[in-house]
Symmetry: D2
């Protein structure tokens, strides 16, 4: 019998940002229930977070190890079904591995791991475990992104020639990691973020989006990687030339020093017969441009009969009722929950998986490698 | 001790639209728990809805009367705290009255009631009951609407001279109520909607928004009211001249036959020193226009330090992470829940109340009256 | 044999605004040559203007009477062909009458005259004279406006139900006429502008645009007319309910106290099957919205094969090369010049004429009359 | 004494595109008079063009040599002052050299020449001649581009870190040069266009714009250059990594196979304290983004008191009256004419010159060289 899926969270304590977003997204559709968490490496903080979230005090754990072991010991009709991992990069693989080993499904923040090699190890574990593994590349959860993928896949645009993917932000234009901004702190710390700040945090979203929509794979790249803010240890800007496996070319650039840009993820895809344009800050519109015709504005909306089944499956409201960022995560959660539920409609919902994660880690390391070699081409 | 607030729902069964939206909004922040419902006038449908929502079967009731009486009889630590009413207009006042009489708080969809006189009766009941009463004019829940109100209130724009409020949709351009479209069916039925379709459904949102942001009251109006679709019994379009209590003038128009318009609620407010513009379909931007200066784009975002406390209190994400329609409802729910919880921060969150509802009903009837008298002025 | 058309100008001296715009527009296509002018009521200013414009000194005249009489006396291959009148409203009819009487064609700024009765007299004169008469309602010169008219005329939208026409500006939000701003000075002076400032200056553009595109006629109207700036003698804001001869309804509002608005002329037209939206500040886009389909963005461009002949005839550049305000006037001049030239392609170019002018004057007076009677309906 | 400047044109016959645009731009302000031309290499076509342009038949010449020699022989008060060259690339340097040798000023279309070495030769000639030389990089003529330059120059943005310049079009997505499209024909022909189609035609505009606004120089670049359309001999797409002389980085991409893009030239400039964004298809807006503040929309308009003198000098109309592409060229012509006139206000008007042209040619060849070496870095 169908029931609510039970979620345990790793990370996401009271002063974190993304944990709260995950909880809202998971709660949105009423299919997932937060039942426990290891919200902080400080037991008292974890407990306090649990209380604030109205959890039973005994299910706010001191560590992810504690949570996984103790939940495992609970009766099946009580214990969590999956772990949601919302910690910094260096704390993705460990809890994921342990959860999988103990029979739990895992949904993990991106990038998948601390390094490519760690990602490969995790992939092996996922395969052995037989458990479901989801990766929170949330931007693929937007209905208009799904529509874009469906349009490309239909052949309407013809073979793809050119992709322009960009993700620009300005929040790291100054050295705010020095003044205790927690988000900036770990992202600019090589011990917590891995080899990259900007590419790992946002460039990889652009990469994932480009491959998701086009169905193509990046075969090689050449990157100019920069650290503009003095004293910063990792990159805060990267510009990348892309070549895809079908011969298409691309440009991908990501920046965290682009003052005035909030969170501008944009993708343009040009085929032989038509093209697409999507911008995350106006996520409910998709521009479709066919040769010789007026540009068309496709719009999110359950009442828009021209949309593909994939787009509609991720849509909750009629046109003109803006759906946003939280819904994009909620769609990943929804697909993930339906898979766990073995729901008959689970095929309507795709979500990024371990393979996307491995590719993302390879992408990050390839960009950084190319950057360190004065933009030599690096094959993926 | 703080705890989750327990919600019972009236209406919102499986084939309804707005009930599901309310549930998502109520769930978003993890402060409210759906515990019971009278989801349909058909007991079997209500039960089926309860099951689909993972409720305990005995708390999916056959009628709102049943729900209110039986919940009343449950222990205090189990029974619902408030009723959320998401039924058609003619079914607002009855469950609200009964809930209040039995000590429950009430959050109700707009417009408040079937008629102005019914609204007055309900107002009396609210006052007697001492319970909290919230009205779902959700558009006031948007952060940028709160920012607009804060800006007007600060005096930055000077005295307000002119207001242009519009709300245009196209979904009733054909007589879809004949083909069983449920949303259209009751809204165009005088027995269920009251004296108005278009003005009651959307014109009243524009009115509420104008009064909310400006703090002014409409003192009189002149309206040209139309039914463009043959055979339809209620209005599907209205254009209204407004006069406000401070001498400001206004134009308000609402239409449901404006093909191609999804849900375009827009407001422009002009003062002696500056002006504002906000459009619901791009809800995270607010244009602020001061005389002789470049237009400024205020943006939703927890990290936008220039925003007012009111705007920030309704914001969940950093700039560039689009917040949408569901969040606007969630903000009403959040404020309502905090009030019930007697939360210390409850004053940060306003929500529309019974007075807004009474004014809305007066507005609707005044527009229809003016329309029936060839646009004579009617005082409110 | 085809030759350049020779233009004489009345008004438009060195410190005027619109005269210079007319000269640029007339010069743009190389079909019209400025040969003389009575640029100012001051002979010395007129002469100085003539010199600055590289005219022969003897053809910068002291008055329009002087110009018309003396040009009449010149040989046919030298004298001007038409008079372009760019003076304030109270100086339209006199030079126009005299020019027509002396065999010259006339192109006149809008509104046509100082009053409706003066307009009727001028219409009689035009008819008697057999000369061409053009009126500078320049917004009908934009290609996308012509496209809009062609689309409505094709029946694609079905019968028109609703029109929303707006024209809002903020430049008269303060009493700048007191500080010598020349444009403001005469427009707010009843002796120079006539019965209206705002409606005469911009409201009439919105009216003309609505009738031009739809092919409908306003049959009656109800207006709330305001003067927000203390001490001002004429209106600076008007909101109007419209009824059209086919049963369509409309809203028209114009304002000059809308701070932050530059020159926002916008029109939306809703039919039974589809709708249109055009905004003057982004003049090269026309939104076409058909029921159940994505919105389409029609664009100005000689290479846009989907455009109508009417739109293309007013287009000079490929798509993406913005055409602007001056071109809109130039299209009126172009059509006018081709008519005078008896050019074989003259039918491709329409331009507003004396009938448009008479209707505009009737509209202005009807709005002011309704405003003075507390928004009673006035038939046109 | 000040007088109209007399222009002779090379190229721009009846079926050309850009020649007509130049004539409109030159005519706009009434400061320049077209007096002669060698409009075509066919004498009869040149004559026919002259007639259509109302020129004296004896001043429509059979060749540019003919024109230059014969005009030289005319009295000083009749002969042309400067030559405007609007021919394909391979026909820029020859007429320019001959004109300079004969004492005429020259205004030339971009790119400057057929090759970098030819450009260097022409530069020597310009220097020797002492004549004025203007290059039609028209996009620098837009008021908001001038404003952008003024803002950067003021230091308001701090040192520049990152530049993103893009110019995408779709008109060459198919092999239209095969079907006789004249514009496509010569641009894709190495004998007429030189080493590049896409980079020479549009990439160089983006390069010029980036250097113009920032005042920086590109020091090296790495380019991936593509020909997507089979059988085409020159590039139709290029993506370029840029490094500037102050350490700033950049991305520049240009494409002619980007279906659905009309003429999208866009530039974003990020400094340490703020940033700018300008898009040619909405040329009258400039986004200014200062850290921690709402984005501001600067607008073209003679009445916008916050604009720099440089921006205002290129502005003709009040805000909200769209100025477009033709005005951008007209501003180049205006500055050029004022220089020839030795006008006292000539310093208010800059225009691109021979040095810009030489840099542009170097840029083009560097991109093509890098492209041919698999995106190796090439120093400029």
């Amino acid at each position: 019998m169908k029931r609510k899926i039970r979620m345990g969270m790793v990370g996401g304590g009271q002063d974190a940002f993304i944990g709260a977003v995950h909880r809202m997204a998971a709660a949105l559709d009423g299919e997932i229930e937060l039942v426990c968490g290891a919200f902080s490496s400080s037991e008292s903080k974890s407990k306090a977070s649990g209380v604030a979230l109205y959890l039973s005090p005994d299910r706010a754990y001191a560590s992810f190890e504690d949570m996984i072991i103790k939940e495992r010991a609970l009766p099946e009709n009580i214990r969590m079904d999956f772990v949601s991992i919302v910690t910094p990069n260096y704390l993705h693989a460990k809890p994921a591995m342990l959860a999988l080993e103990n029979g739990f499904h895992v949904l993990c923040e991106k990038p998948l791991a601390f390094s490519y090699s760690e990602a490969l190890t995790l992939r092996d574990k996922v395969k052995q475990s037989g458990r479901s593994f989801g990766l929170m590349h949330n931007y693929t959860g937007y209905p208009m992104v799904k529509e874009a993928k469906a349009i490309v896949n239909s052949g309407k645009l013809g073979p793809i020639r050119k992709v322009i993917a960009e993700y620009v932000q300005g929040w790291l234009a100054a050295r705010i990691e020095e003044s205790g901004q927690k988000q900036a702190d770990w992202r600019t710390d090589p011990d917590k973020a891995g080899v990259s700040c900007c590419v790992g945090d946002i460039g990889t979203h652009a990469e994932n989006l480009a491959e998701y929509i086009t169905g193509l794979k990046i075969s090689e790249l050449s990157a100019d990687v920069s650290t503009f803010v003095k004293g910063r240890k990792l990159d805060d800007d990267a510009s990348v030339l892309l070549r895809f496996d079908n011969g298409a070319k691309g440009v991908l650039f990501s920046s965290q020093i682009a003052i005035g840009e909030e969170n501008e993820l944009k993708i343009r895809i040009y085929g032989e017969k038509g093209s697409l344009e999507w911008l995350q800050s106006e996520p409910n519109s998709l521009l479709v441009k066919m040769s010789g015709e007026p540009v068309q504005i496709y719009r999110t909306g359950v009442d828009n009969g021209y949309l593909s089944k994939a787009a509609l499956s991720g849509t909750r409201l009629p046109g003109g009722h803006p759906e946003g960022y939280i819904e994009s995560l909620a769609n990943i959660y929804k697909g993930f929950a339906r898979t766990i539920q073995q729901d008959e409609r689970r095929d309507e919902f795709d979500f990024p998986d371990i393979e996307d994660g491995v590719r993302g880690m390879r992408f990050i390391e390839a960009v950084i490698e190319s950057g360190s070699k004065n933009a030599q081409w690096v094959k993926l």
